[in-house]
């Protein structure tokens, strides 16, 4: 016990946890103080955040570690939300340097960071990720519109009789009932659980857009946004939508065994499995590299990572890591990230973010 207590106190003294500073005035002074503390301890970059960006960040990290003398960054997959919370906690060795995100930082998160002393945050977009609805190649490819996706998967849909303002529990059991031109197979979709960022993105991009096609719902959105989101984002629980867990390999196997079912996952995963899976057409566009890159495929979202400017220069290698990530050989049209399924940004966007990375231009919270 003495040994334990001794060990703990020695370590505890070295790196005391930052008490969340609610006062902004203190923050500046604390930043200077902790910058000195950073010098001493960590010599590797610490990255947290989205599980969608994780496969790409890890590839860059590995390349970075191999081609330079710096240590390979340590990357944790905590989810976008969790990553932001860890990132925003403060400046110092015990806090992460970079957080990956499959969505933009919220204004509230930006402000909270500033309150804790993280005043200069650099936002870098790395590319796009598509969300696809795929089925086995053994069956015919699906052609859906976002409105149909909403009608097939929402818990409550507008009354089919057309009466405005009325919602009924989802009555559609087969795809044909939603649109006579679709096959007469049971609606069976395997998708991510509510804790997944992919689910959030799918619900926002596909279902919300589909719901907006109903005029009265669109009007409702302007009046009562919360109620609209409740209608548009809630997925049916009667068995037509099956939460297929986080393991994509299993989803592929399920879809292979059951050709009538559809699965929802990221484009990079479809890309890895084109021998077994095919993506459904959404609003007439098939998910493919070019379609997602130029924006014609509607279900795509940008991927970001955020950097603490205060840590650049104190944690070794950060500037070089940014350089590696923003280089053409990584995120360019022929880069190694594209081979992993990342959809690259158009050239002008790449140039824009490359210069932001070089100059470490921070974002302004109010502009979010």
């Amino acid at each position: 016990m003495l040994m334990l207590a001794g060990a703990l106190s020695v370590i505890g003294c070295g790196q005391k946890a930052e008490q969340p500073a609610a006062k902004g005035e203190k923050a500046a002074g604390e930043v200077e103080q902790t910058e000195e503390a950073i010098e001493s301890a960590r010599d590797y970059i610490s990255i947290v955040g989205s599980s969608t960006v994780y496969p790409f960040a890890t590839v860059v990290a590995e390349q970075f570690g191999k081609t330079t003398d710096f240590k390979t960054p340590k990357i944790e997959s905590t989810g976008s939300g969790g990553g932001f919370k860890l990132f925003a906690a403060g400046v110092g060795v015990e806090h992460p340097d970079i957080t990956n995100a499959s969505r933009r930082i919220k204004k509230s998160e930006c402000e909270m960071s500033a309150e804790n002393g993280v005043t200069e945050v650099v936002e870098l977009k790395i590319g796009y990720d598509g969300i696809v609805m795929a089925n086995s190649k053994k069956a015919e490819p699906f052609k859906l519109t976002r409105k149909e996706i909403y009608l097939a998967l929402a818990k409550e849909v507008p009354d089919p009789s057309g009466e405005e303002g009325k919602l009924v529990p989802n009555p559609y059991k087969t795809w044909k009932e939603v649109n006579p031109e679709l096959p007469e197979t049971k609606i069976e979709v395997l998708g991510p659980p509510p804790t997944s960022g992919t689910r959030d993105a799918f619900v926002e991009l596909a279902m919300e857009a589909g719901a907006k096609e109903f005029a009265w719902l669109k009007a409702l959105r302007k009046e009562d946004k919360k109620k609209f989101k409740g209608i548009a984002h809630t997925v049916r629980e009667d068995g037509a939508y099956v939460e297929a867990g986080e393991n994509d390999n299993l989803i592929v196997q399920k879809l292979d065994a059951n050709p009538d079912a559809l699965g929802i996952f990221g484009f990079s995963f479809l890309d890895q499995n084109t021998d077994k899976m095919q993506g459904a057409f959404v609003d007439g566009v098939q998910p493919a590299f070019s379609a997602i890159a130029d924006g014609s495929y509607p279900l795509s979202r940008p991927l970001f990572f955020y950097v603490k400017k205060a840590h650049v220069g104190t944690i070794p290698g950060m500037a070089e890591y940014l350089e590696e990530f923003t280089s053409e050989k990584a995120w360019g049209d022929e880069g190694y990230l594209t081979e992993k399924g990342l959809i690259p940004m158009p050239e002008e966007e790449r140039e824009k973010y490359a210069s932001i990375a070089k100059n470490l231009t921070p974002i302004v919270c109010d502009e979010l």
Partner: protein, 387 residues
């Protein structure tokens, strides 16, 4: 020799207990025993310490959200604003897989323990015991990998036929045994030996045919079942049962051994067969120890994280219908492991604290079960010693 008294200064190198030495020894004893006491207490205090820290982080949740929703609602949407924290479905999931694994592990385990302690010859026992011990040595992540990568696809692709064959292999012998027993009972009335034999044979055959049809029909129905998701409660229950098995077997075996030879030999002396001795004498005597073993095995199943995280499907809902083991569920342990990443780890919020609330629940259940099983074992020892 012993002429000179011990205290004589003629033997200068003799060990003489002087007051100085005595005092030093006393100090050493005080320090030494004190140090050991402190260490031992530390270990004990760690437990209270764990309880305290988990409770301290769990209570804010109940202060913020109250008790009702957590225990009665099935809506688990922690990411919403404001979030919903109904853990009923998750608790149901934990309960489901625990009961499922107990249903498999308890009969299997007790039978194996009996076999090891009373039935098998010593030489065979040397080989059989390591098999059970190996099951205990395999790390949980290996079980989880097996459940996810090998067993889940098996269930998905061959679910129906697998269920059918398992039904035939397990229910078959039991059904035939029942047939024999029933025909025995039915024909025990008659007097004459020969007619009784023929009657018994015909009755057996008739019942046997009925049983065959029953088995076949149920089997074929099972064959048609399509298992949609290989990661489900059945998968987890099966794997957990093999993880709990070694605990049940070893504690039950200890308990059976503790019964002692007198009881057994007395039973044999009265003319009982080995089976009768075991069933009618030894088992009842060891029953409390076996109960303790079962409780310990169940505790193992409740507290398991990796297997359920990888292979239960992690879907927070109560299956339709309530006994549908082929549906995905979510357990308390997997929720803690999985949700911690998304939860607000630093500044504290309901999402973070609810996970500690679940941890507290698990802790309380474990402590209570442990206490109960301890009591039972102590009582059994007292009873046996008293007899």
């Amino acid at each position: 020799m012993a002429e000179a008294p011990l205290n004589s200064p003629q033997k200068p190198d003799a060990f003489v207990m002087t007051p100085e030495r005595l005092r030093r020894q006393r100090i050493a004893k005080f320090l030494g025993e004190g140090f050991l006491l402190v260490v031992a207490s530390f270990v004990a205090i760690v437990v209270l310490f764990i309880f305290y820290f988990v409770a301290v982080d769990a209570i804010p949740f109940f202060q913020q959200r109250g008790f009702g929703e957590f225990f009665t609602s099935t809506g688990w949407y922690p990411a919403d604003e404001p979030g919903e924290f109904g853990a009923l479905a998750i608790m149901y999931g934990s309960g489901m897989v625990t009961i499922g694994s107990a249903l498999i592990a308890v009969p299997l385990g007790i039978a194996a323990a009996i076999c090891l302690s009373d039935v098998l010859p010593f030489a065979v026992r040397q080989y059989a015991k390591p098999v059970i011990e190996m099951l205990a040595a395999i790390p949980s992540v290996a079980y989880g990998f097996f459940a996810l990568v090998i067993f889940a696809p098996l269930l998905q692709n061959y679910g129906g036929p697998l269920l059918m064959w398992t039904w035939w292999l397990i229910a078959g012998p039991f059904v035939f045994l029942a047939v024999i027993v029933v025909s025995d009972l039915v024909t025990s009335g008659s007097q004459s030996t020969d007619t009784r034999k023929t009657i018994r044979w015909t009755v057996t055959v008739v019942f046997g045919v009925i049983a065959l049809f029953f088995l076949y029909y149920v089997g074929r129905t099972l064959n048609e079942i399509q298992i949609l998701s290989g990661t489900n409660a059945l998968n987890v229950s099966l794997i957990l049962s093999f993880m709990a098995l070694p605990t049940i077997v070893s504690v039950s075996e200890d308990s059976l051994q503790a019964v002692g030879r007198e009881l057994r030999e007395g039973s044999y002396a009265l003319g009982a067969t080995r089976a009768e001795t075991i069933v009618k004498t030894v088992l009842p005597a060891a029953s409390s120890g076996i109960l303790a073993a079962v409780i310990l095995g169940i505790m193992r199943a409740i507290g398991e994280t990796m297997v359920v995280w990888m292979a239960s499907g992690n879907s927070s809902h109560i299956p339709e219908p309530w006994f549908n083991y082929l549906d995905s569920i979510r357990t308390l342990t997997a929720t803690i492991a999985g949700d911690m990443g998304e939860a607000d780890q630093v500044t504290g919020s309901a999402r973070y604290h609810v996970l500690f609330a679940m941890g507290l629940l698990l802790l309380i259940i474990s402590f209570v079960s442990n206490l109960v099983s301890e009591r039972i074992v102590v009582r059994q020892r007292k009873v046996l010693a008293g007899e």
